[in-house]
C-alpha cells in the first residue's frame, strides 16, 4: 500500500524562474501585443512610428532584464534544465536585443520610403529576437532547435518583406529552402548524437562523454558533423555560405543588418554551447574541421568581398569573412577563445548594424541603389555620413582604436594561445585582403574622380538613422580606446 502511494506521488512541476525568462518573454510578449494592437486598431488611429518605438522599447526592456540578471549571482535554470540563463546566454541575449534596439530607430522612415508594412517587420523582428535568445540559452538540443526555428522562420519572412522587389522575394525563397535544408541536417545531427549518448541535454552529453569512452564513435562523429553543418549554415561559414550574399542583398537593408548581427550572435552562441561546452571532450575531433572551415571562410569571404562592385554585397561577403574570424576563436576551444568570440560578436554586431544603416539610408526608394558608383563623392555630398561609414569600415578592417582591432586582437590571441599559428596567420592575411575591399568603398566616397550629380543626392537621413549611426560610431571608437569594460564582461561570460 505504501509502495503504491509512492508510485503515484504527485508530479512536481519543473521550476520556472519567470524573472530569468524575461529576456525571452519581453520581446515575445512585445511582438504579440503589437500584433494584436495592429490587428484590432485601425492603422490611421495609431502614429506611424509606433511600431518602431514599441520594438525599441521591448528590446530595451529585454536588455534591462539582462542587466538585472547579470547582476544576480549564479545562473538561472528553467523547465528542468532545458533553458539556462548563464553568462554566455545573457551576453548573447544582450547582443541580440542590443542589435534589435539599435536597428529599430531606422525603421519608420525606411519602411515609409520603401513601402514595407512596418508592423509586420517589427513583429517578426521581435519574434526572431525571442527565438535567438532561446537559442543562446538552450541547454538541450531540442530547445536549441526550437529557438533556431522560431528565429529562422521569422527571418525567412522578413527577408521577403519587400514585396515590390524581386530580389527580396528571391532572397526569402532561397533563405527558406536552404534554411530548411540545413535545419534537416541539424535535426539529423541531434538524432545521431542522441543515439550515441542517450541524451539531448547538453550537460548530459558532456557528462556522458566525460564518463564513458565511446569506442564505436561513428554515430557520434556523424552527428557532430551534421550539427556543424546545421549551425554552419546559420552563421554562414564557407562552404555553407552560398545563401548569404543573395539573401543579404535581397532582404530589406535593416533586416540584413539584423541577420549580420543578431542571427549571427545566436548562431555562434549555440555553436559554443554545443561544441566548446557539450562536445568539448571531443575537441580533438572537431577542431581540425573548424580549422578548415575557418580558413575557407576567411579566404572566400575576404577575397570575394574585394571584387564586389556593390556595397551591400561587399558587406555581405565581409560578414562572411568576419564569421571566419569568429570561427578562429571557436577553434581555440578555450575560455579565452570563447571570450574573444563574445567580444567579437558584440563589436561586430554594432559595426554591422551601423554600416547597413548607412547603406539603408543611401539605398533610395527601391532599396537597390547600393552600387559603389552610387557612393561617388559622398565625402563631399554628405561628409558626416561618409565619415561615419569610414569609421565603421576601418573598424571592420581592424584598424587600431576601434572595437574591430581589439576584437581581432583577442581572437588572434586565443588562436596563438592554443598554438594555432597558421590559422592566426591566415586570419591576418585575409584581414589585409578584406581591407582592400573596405578601402575601395572609401576610395569611391572620397577619391572618386567623377564629380557627382547634385540631383543624385541621397534622401534625407532622418533623425532615427542619424542617431543609430552616431551611436554605432561612438560605441565602436569607445570600445576601441577603452576596451577594458567590454573585455571583462566577455571574459566573465566566457566562464558561462
Amino acid at each position: 500500500m505504501v509502495a503504491v502511494t509512492a508510485q503515484f506521488a504527485p508530479v512536481t512541476a519543473p521550476v520556472v524562474d519567470w524573472v530569468g525568462l524575461l529576456p525571452v518573454i519581453l520581446p515575445a510578449a512585445g511582438a504579440l501585443v503589437l500584433l494584436m494592437v495592429r490587428s484590432l486598431v485601425p492603422g490611421r488611429l495609431l502614429p506611424a512610428a509606433l511600431d518602431a518605438v514599441w520594438t525599441f522599447a521591448a528590446a530595451a526592456a529585454g536588455l534591462v532584464a539582462v542587466v538585472v540578471l547579470w547582476q544576480r549571482d549564479g545562473e538561472v535554470r528553467s523547465f528542468g534544465d532545458q533553458l539556462v540563463m548563464d553568462g554566455l546566454a545573457l551576453f548573447a541575449a544582450a547582443v541580440v536585443l542590443g542589435s534589435v534596439a539599435l536597428a529599430a530607430p531606422t525603421l519608420p522612415r525606411y519602411c515609409r520610403r520603401v513601402g514595407i508594412d512596418s508592423a509586420e517587420l517589427c513583429v517578426l523582428t521581435l519574434l526572431a529576437a525571442a527565438g535567438a535568445v532561446v537559442m543562446a540559452g538552450a541547454a538541450d538540443l531540442i530547445v536549441l532547435f526550437l529557438g533556431l526555428e522560431t528565429m529562422s522562420i521569422a527571418a525567412y519572412v522578413m527577408a521577403a518583406l519587400n514585396l515590390r522587389r524581386l530580389e527580396s522575394l528571391e532572397a526569402g525563397l532561397k533563405y527558406f529552402v536552404l534554411g530548411a535544408f540545413s535545419t534537416a541536417f541539424l535535426l539529423y545531427g541531434i538524432a545521431l548524437v542522441y543515439g550515441a549518448t542517450g541524451t539531448t541535454g547538453l550537460d548530459g552529453i558532456a557528462v556522458y562523454l566525460d564518463t564513458y569512452l565511446v569506442l564505436n564513435d561513428g554515430m557520434l562523429l556523424a552527428g557532430m558533423a551534421m550539427l556543424l553543418v546545421g549551425l554552419g549554415f546559420k552563421v554562414a561559414a564557407v562552404p555553407f555560405h552560398a545563401w548569404a550574399p543573395d539573401v543579404y542583398v535581397g532582404a530589406p537593408t535593416p533586416v540584413t543588418a539584423l541577420m549580420a548581427s543578431a542571427v549571427k550572435a545566436a548562431g555562434f552562441a549555440a555553436l559554443i554551447r554545443v561544441f566548446v561546452d557539450a562536445l568539448g571532450m571531443r575537441a580533438d575531433d572537431w577542431q581540425p574541421v573548424v580549422f578548415a572551415l575557418a580558413c575557407a571562410t576567411l579566404a572566400v569571404g575576404s577575397v570575394l568581398a574585394a571584387v564586389q562592385s556593390d556595397a551591400k554585397r561587399l558587406l555581405a561577403y565581409s560578414s562572411i569573412s568576419h564569421a571566419g574570424f569568429i570561427l578562429v576563436g571557436v577553434q581555440a576551444a578555450s575560455d579565452s577563445g570563447v571570450s574573444a568570440v563574445l567580444f567579437y560578436l558584440a563589436a561586430y554586431a554594432v559595426i554591422a548594424v551601423g554600416s547597413f544603416t548607412v547603406v539603408a539610408v543611401l539605398s533610395g526608394r527601391g532599396d537597390d541603389r547600393t552600387g559603389l558608383a552610387e557612393l561617388a563623392g559622398l565625402g563631399t555630398r554628405r561628409p558626416a555620413l561618409a565619415l561615419g561609414l569610414t569609421v565603421l569600415l576601418l573598424a571592420q578592417a581592424g584598424v587600431p582604436f576601434t572595437s574591430g582591432f581589439v576584437a581581432k586582437f583577442s581572437v588572434i590571441s586565443a588562436a596563438v594561445e592554443s598554438r594555432s599559428y597558421w590559422l592566426a596567420i591566415v586570419a591576418m592575411v585575409s584581414a589585409v585582403v578584406a581591407a582592400f575591399a573596405y578601402l575601395r568603398v572609401v576610395v569611391a566616397m572620397y577619391f572618386g574622380d567623377t564629380e557627382p550629380d547634385a540631383a543624385d543626392a541621397p534622401p534625407a537621413m532622418g533623425l532615427g538613422a542619424a542617431a543609430v549611426i552616431v551611436a554605432a560610431v561612438l560605441f565602436t571608437v569607445a570600445a576601441g580606446i577603452v576596451p577594458g569594460f567590454l573585455e571583462s564582461l566577455a571574459s566573465t561570460a566566457a566562464g558561462f
Binding site: S339, L394, V399, P400, F401, F405, V406, F409, S410, I412, S413, V416, E417, Y421, A424, I425, M428, V429, A431, V432, A435, F436, L439, R440, V442, V443, Y446, F447, P483, G484, E487, S488, S491
Partner: protein
C-alpha cells in the same frame, strides 16, 4: 637636479602624444564658417609638442641616456595584459625631437590645396601616431600606433595628392598592413611563449620580455622574421620598397615630408628597438641577410634615382638608398654602426624632409616636376638655389654637413663588420653625389627659358621654414657631439645586451685602431672653436679601448 626634472613632469610623453590628437578633435569641432582658425589650431596643437620636446632635450639626463626616461605607465586593457607604457632613451630621443619639430614646419610651410579642416586634422592625428610609436614600450601599444599612422597618411595621399593618388594610397596602405599583419601574430606569440617559458602573467612589456631572453633559438628567429618583415616594408628595404616611389610621388608635399622624415624611421627604429633589442640572437643570425638587403637597397636606390625623370621620384628613390645605410649601420652590430644609423635617421629626416619641401615649392611655382622641363632656376631664384645646394650637399654627405657624420660612422661600423659590403656601400655615396649633383645641375644651371625664367624666389615664410632645417644641417655637421653623447650610451647598452645574450658574439671591432674614432671626431669638433659645452663626465665612455 636632473632626477627631479624628469620626475617633476612624468606624464610629459603621454601629453606629447595626446595633445595633437586632442587638437584634431578640436579642429573637427570648429565650425566650417571659421576657416581662418583651422591653421591656427593646427599650428598650436603641433607647437605645444615642439615646446615639450625642447624641454625634454634640456631635462634628458645624458649620463643615464641608456635608461628609459620620462617613463609613464598605466594599465590599458587589463584582461589582455596591455598597458600604456612610454619612455625615451638615447635611441628614441632625437627621433621624438625631430618628429615634434618637423610637424609644425610642415604645417606652416605647406598649405593644402583644398579642404583645410580635414587636412590639418589628419596631420595632427598622424603626428600623434608617429610620436606614440617612438615612445611606446609596450608591444601592443607600439603595434597600435605603428598601424594607426596608415590611416591619416592614406587619407592625406588619397585626398590631397596628385596623379594616381587613390592607387598610391591604397598600395601604401595594403603593403604596410600586410607587413604588420604578421607582426601582430608574432607579438602575441612572443608574449604567450615568453610567459609560458619564463612563468608569470602574459605581458607585452618590452623590457620584461627583452631583458629575460627565454625563447628557443629557432622560435626567436621565426618571430624576428615576422617583425623584420613589417619593418622592412616600412623602411622600405629591397624588394618590398615598391610602394614608396608611388606614395611619395603622388603625395602632397607635406605628406612626402612626413613620410620621408618620420614614417620611414618607424621601420628603422623598429628594427633597432624591436629587432635587435628583442631578438639579439636572431639579429646576429640574420645580420648578413639584413646587411645584404641594405647594400642592395643602396645601390639599387641610387641607380634608380639616377634614372628618374621626375624630381620628386628621384628624391624618393634616394630615400631607398639612404635608408639602406641606416640598415647596414644597425646590423653592423657595433658602436659606430648603430650610432651612425641613429644619427642617419635624424639626418635623413632633416635633409630629405627639406628636399621634399623644396621640390614642393618648385612644383607649386612651375606645376611640373619633370626635370627636363625645368632648368636654369638659379637665375630667377638664387636664394632657393642656395638653400637647395646646402640641403642637397647634406644629402650627398659632404663633410661639415650632417650627412657626413652619420654616413662615416655607418661605413666605419660596416667596414669592421662586413668589410666588402662596406666597400660596395661606399660606392653608394659616390652614386648619391652623381644623381643629386646631376639633378641639381639640370634643374638649376643652364639658361632659363620661358616659365623657368619667371619663377619667383623663396618667399619670407618659406625662408623661415627652411631656416631651421639649415641650422640643423650645419649644427649636426659641425658639432655632433651633444647628439652623439646622448645616443652612444644607449647604443653601448644595446650592444652589451646583444653580447650578454648571444653566446660567442663579440662586437665586431677593427683589428687595428681606426684612424678616426668617435673620440677624435668629438675632440676635433671641440677644437673647432666651440669648446666644451661643460658636459660633466666629458668622456662618453665608449670606444674600443674600453673593452
Amino acid at each position: 637636479m636632473a632626477s627631479v626634472s624628469s620626475a617633476s613632469f612624468p606624464a610629459v610623453l603621454t601629453v606629447l602624444v595626446l595633445v595633437p590628437a586632442a587638437g584634431a578633435l578640436v579642429l573637427l569641432a570648429l565650425p566650417r564658417t571659421r576657416p581662418d582658425l583651422f591653421k591656427l589650431v593646427a599650428l598650436l596643437a603641433s607647437l605645444l609638442p615642439a615646446a615639450l620636446v625642447v624641454w625634454m632635450l634640456w631635462a634628458f639626463e645624458t649620463d643615464i641616456a641608456h635608461a628609459f626616461q620620462f617613463a609613464d605607465r598605466h594599465t590599458w586593457i587589463e584582461g589582455l595584459g596591455v598597458s600604456w607604457n612610454v619612455g625615451v632613451d638615447g635611441l628614441s630621443l632625437f627621433l621624438v625631437v625631430m618628429t615634434a619639430l618637423i610637424f609644425p614646419l610642415a604645417i606652416v610651410g605647406v598649405d593644402p590645396e583644398h579642404s583645410p579642416k580635414p587636412y590639418y586634422a589628419w596631420m595632427l592625428i598622424l603626428e600623434a601616431g608617429c610620436l606614440g610609436t617612438f615612445v611606446a614600450l609596450d608591444l601592443v601599444m607600439f603595434f597600435v600606433f605603428f598601424e594607426i599612422v596608415l590611416v591619416p597618411m592614406y587619407f592625406l595621399i588619397g585626398g590631397w595628392g596628385h596623379g594616381r593618388r587613390a592607387y598610391a594610397a591604397t598600395k601604401f596602405f595594403l603593403f604596410t598592413m600586410f607587413g604588420s599583419a604578421l607582426m601582430l601574430v608574432a607579438i602575441v606569440a612572443l608574449a604567450f611563449l615568453h610567459s609560458s617559458a619564463a612563468g608569470g602573467d602574459v605581458t607585452f612589456d618590452l623590457l620584461a620580455i627583452a631583458e629575460n631572453q627565454v625563447l628557443a633559438t629557432n622560435t626567436a628567429r621565426w618571430l624576428f622574421l615576422a617583425f623584420a618583415l613589417a619593418f622592412a616594408v616600412k623602411v622600405p628595404l629591397f624588394p618590398v620598397h615598391t610602394w614608396l616611389p608611388d606614395a611619395h610621388t603622388n603625395a602632397p608635399t607635406a605628406g612626402s615630408v612626413i613620410l620621408a622624415a618620420v614614417m620611414l624611421k618607424l621601420g628603422t627604429y623598429g628594427l633597432l628597438r624591436f629587432g635587435l633589442y628583442l631578438f639579439p640572437e636572431a639579429s646576429v643570425f640574420f645580420a648578413p641577410l639584413m646587411v645584404t638587403l641594405g647594400v642592395i637597397g643602396i645601390i639599387y636606390g641610387a641607380i634608380a634615382a639616377a634614372m628618374q625623370r621626375d624630381l620628386k621620384r628621384l628624391v624618393a628613390y634616394s630615400s631607398v638608398a639612404h635608408l639602406g645605410f641606416i640598415v647596414i649601420g644597425t646590423f653592423a652590430l657595433n658602436t659606430e654602426g648603430i650610432t651612425g644609423g641613429v644619427l642617419q635617421m635624424v639626418n635623413h629626416g632633416v635633409s630629405t624632409g627639406a628636399l621634399f619641401l623644396l621640390v614642393g615649392m618648385i612644383y607649386e611655382r612651375r606645376h611640373t616636376r619633370e626635370i627636363s622641363e625645368l632648368g636654369g632656376l638659379q637665375k630667377p631664384a638664387p636664394l632657393m638655389a642656395a638653400v637647395f645646394t646646402v640641403v642637397m650637399l647634406s644629402s650627398v654627405g659632404l663633410p661639415g654637413l650632417n650627412g657626413f657624420v652619420g654616413e662615416l660612422l655607418v661605413l666605419l661600423g660596416a667596414f669592421n663588420a662586413h668589410r666588402w659590403w662596406a666597400v660596395v656601400a661606399a660606392a653608394g655615396v659616390i652614386l648619391a653625389a652623381v644623381y643629386l649633383l646631376w639633378a641639381y645641375q639640370r634643374v638649376f644651371h643652364g639658361p632659363a627659358s620661358g616659365a623657368n625664367a619667371e619663377m619667383p624666389d623663396l618667399r619670407w615664410r618659406e625662408g623661415l621654414v627652411m631656416a631651421p632645417f639649415l641650422v640643423a644641417i650645419v649644427f649636426m655637421g659641425v658639432y655632433p657631439k651633444p647628439v652623439i653623447d646622448r645616443v652612444e650610451p644607449a647604443v653601448d647598452a644595446i650592444i652589451a645586451h646583444v653580447e650578454d645574450n648571444v653566446a660567442g658574439f663579440a662586437e665586431p671591432v677593427a683589428d687595428v685602431q681606426p684612424s678616426v674614432s668617435l673620440d677624435d671626431l668629438a675632440r676635433s669638433s671641440d677644437e673647432n672653436g666651440h669648446g666644451s659645452d661643460g658636459e660633466t663626465g666629458g668622456d662618453p665612455g665608449h670606444g674600443e679601448d674600453d673593452r
